[in-house]
Symmetry: C2
């Protein structure tokens, strides 16, 4: 791990010449589609570290950088994590069915297909080349958490980890690596911490599978920007 900084794609980003990586910002943003089927090829270590270093250049409250990233690639560690993840997903699915919790979105185009892919990922998580556990260390949150690891100011606390997660996913995309942002493990978080020895005051904010995608990246479809932007006052669109 002493030579990864010399890899061409990393050197450009680090060595005063962070410009010119060749990855286009808007292309990465617009084509960051969730990837849930991966080629079995490993992700080279220098690519992984380039992705993780990009993650750390995110903002955080008080610039405390209260994050850790646990990289899981060994089958013996992925297997118990995957089992816990599947259990969490199945619990979430049972709840959603019983409580009709997706009633507001289940008629949208793409919903059934998305759920099928999420289910497929949950059943094959141990086959994904890399799992990243993006961790939030509550001991570095100052007044935003107590000494037992309870988050007191969730808005500021999560504003100190999810920008880093988005950087991670965009950097991955820029290097051709697919990812998906998942949080369903929260149901089984204590057990998952145990698998990799994460301290009790450190919170697994996200689990991000990483690898080369089976399908090409595509432009994500979203609500029209005019529908979600107001000017000066709630409800006032730019067309008025």
């Amino acid at each position: 791990m002493t030579d990864w900084r010399d890899a061409p794609d990393v050197r450009l980003a680090l060595n005063g010449g962070y410009a010119g990586s060749g990855a286009d910002l808007f292309e990465a943003v617009y084509t960051l589609s969730s990837v849930r089927r991966f080629h079995p090829d490993p992700v080279p270590e220098h690519v992984l570290l380039s992705i993780l270093e990009a993650a750390t250049h995110a903002p955080s409250a008080r610039n405390a950088q209260p994050w850790y990233f646990v990289v899981v690639r060994e089958a013996t560690v992925k297997r118990p994590i995957a089992a816990l993840y599947l259990s969490a997903w199945q619990q979430a699915q049972r709840y959603a069915t019983t409580a009709n919790a997706d009633a507001d979105i289940q008629d949208r185009p793409g919903y059934a297909e998305m759920m099928r892919r999420v289910d497929e990922l949950a059943h094959h998580l141990e086959d994904v080349p890399v799992l990243i556990l993006a961790c939030l260390d509550t001991r570095q949150l100052g007044p935003m958490a107590d000494s037992a690891g309870h988050i007191l100011a969730p808005q500021s606390a999560y504003a100190s980890i999810f920008p880093a997660v988005q950087n991670l996913m965009l950097a991955a995309r820029g290097l051709g690596v697919g990812s998906a942002l998942t949080t369903v493990h929260s149901i089984v978080e204590a057990d998952m911490r145990g698998v990799v020895g994460i301290p009790a005051q450190v919170h697994i904010a996200a689990l991000i599978p990483l690898g080369y995608p089976v399908r090409p990246f595509r432009v994500t479809r979203r609500k029209p920007v005019d529908n979600v932007v107001f000017f000066e006052h709630w409800g006032r669109t730019g067309k008025e």
Copy 2:
């Protein structure tokens, strides 16, 4: 607002030719320094909308896209928001001093300078060309919130807004526009909602000042990636 999609920098991002905006992904990530002093020049509307459209291409739980963005540029609206923000900042500062809440970070290089700049921004927020209120609509969070607007699953809820906020800030950086991620308004959120007529179940997750920066963007300094990345098990660095 019908012609902004024809602006060259927007057309590239939208019209199947999202590639080639000319903004480098890694440069944007590495030089996304917090901007707290702004030129008074306005940000053109097509640039603003390009930034906001990029925000909407973020992931969100259930792909529900539970976000709204309120753009504030008029002095009559900025003024009461700025007054509330200053009040929140002063309350936060008093608390931090009394509770010695920054004891863990106040000896770090750059801390005093950062706090000076945060204080300066709080005193001049109404002079910033654009304020963006990034809102999380709890009515679109399904099982993650109740009908009164209380967030039940903060991790998944905030994972559905802060990636969009990071996209917003990166897109702004890519177009030469500076920003900062702030959440201190949470102390005065109910009053701030009132200023722009935001419904009670909609949560102002972040307040982001936007404008052209006085100082050039610079590469952000962060903890070495080796210090925050573990492999397979907590505490196991790549050097072992």
